[in-house]
């Protein structure tokens, strides 16, 4: 699946997007965040306050409990500040 990152999540990870192949035990958005945190300092910094991070699956907002199966694109970003 493709992962895309925005704002300070993008800056801390140091990437705009990447292709992820998580193991089968990664079922939910929360699981994926936990798995990503183990990938290095940038990820740890991006997700240190995991509860504050927003996620979208295929361009729709989802909660962290949502299953990721079948999604083509997952996005992680901070709370939004548009308008």
């Amino acid at each position: 699946m493709k992962a895309v990152y925005f704002a300070w999540v993008r800056e801390r990870i140091g990437k705009t997007e990447e292709v992820l192949a998580p193991p089968p035990e990664v079922v939910s958005v929360a699981d994926l965040i936990g798995w990503l945190r183990g990938r290095g300092e940038g990820y740890e910094a991006a997700f240190e306050q995991a509860g504050a991070i927003r996620a979208a699956l295929d361009r729709s907002h989802v909660r962290h409990e949502a299953p990721i199966a079948g999604a083509r694109e997952i996005a992680f970003f901070p709370p939004m500040t548009g308008g």
Binding site: V4, A7, R59, A75, F77, P78, M80, T81, G82, G83
Partner: protein, 153 residues
């Protein structure tokens, strides 16, 4: 879902033209409300805002909010334009124009659209300071979440 009245763009916009487009050729509209959000200079400390967005989702999410506004109020039309990229103090960032038969629907729908856009549309503002020292991401405000929650139910 994209909505025909929604645009996300780097260029500026003309709110009068957006309003005129909603009312052209119609005589059933009794009220038009136009809101414009501008970039403030924060007492001279802000040089520019840099607005990042999630291409695709930004249009779709604003479209979903627009469709919800149309479900809740009897609107004759609406326009939402949200900019991205570098924006200087004094320049417009966003506009919402709503048209309806009577004013209450247009007022309420415009307010609803702005409240939901602030908390649901994937845009992020970064501040560039005039002293060049800091470039910080704007933090989301609890007051914006509270403003959105008042529309619940």
């Amino acid at each position: 879902m994209t909505h025909p009245g929604v645009r996300v763009q780097a260029e500026g916009f003309d709110v009068a033209a957006e309003s005129a487009a909603l009312t052209a050729g119609r005589s059933d509209i009794g009220a038009v409300v136009a809101f414009t959000g501008l970039c403030r200079d924060e007492d001279g400390t802000l040089a520019a805002l840099e607005i990042e967005h999630y291409p695709g989702m930004a249009e779709e999410e604003v479209g979903r909010v627009a469709a919800e506004a149309e479900r809740r109020w009897p609107l004759a039309g609406l326009r939402v334009v949200h900019r991205f990229g570098r924006i200087r103090p004094g320049e417009p960032i966003v506009c919402v124009v709503t048209a309806s038969r009577h004013r209450q629907a247009a007022f309420e729908a415009a307010s609803f659209l702005m409240d939901f856009m602030k908390t649901r549309a994937p845009f992020w503002k970064k501040e560039h300071r005039t002293d060049g020292t800091s470039r910080d991401w704007v933090e989301a405000k609890a007051s914006d979440d509270a403003a959105t929650e008042r529309w619940a139910g």
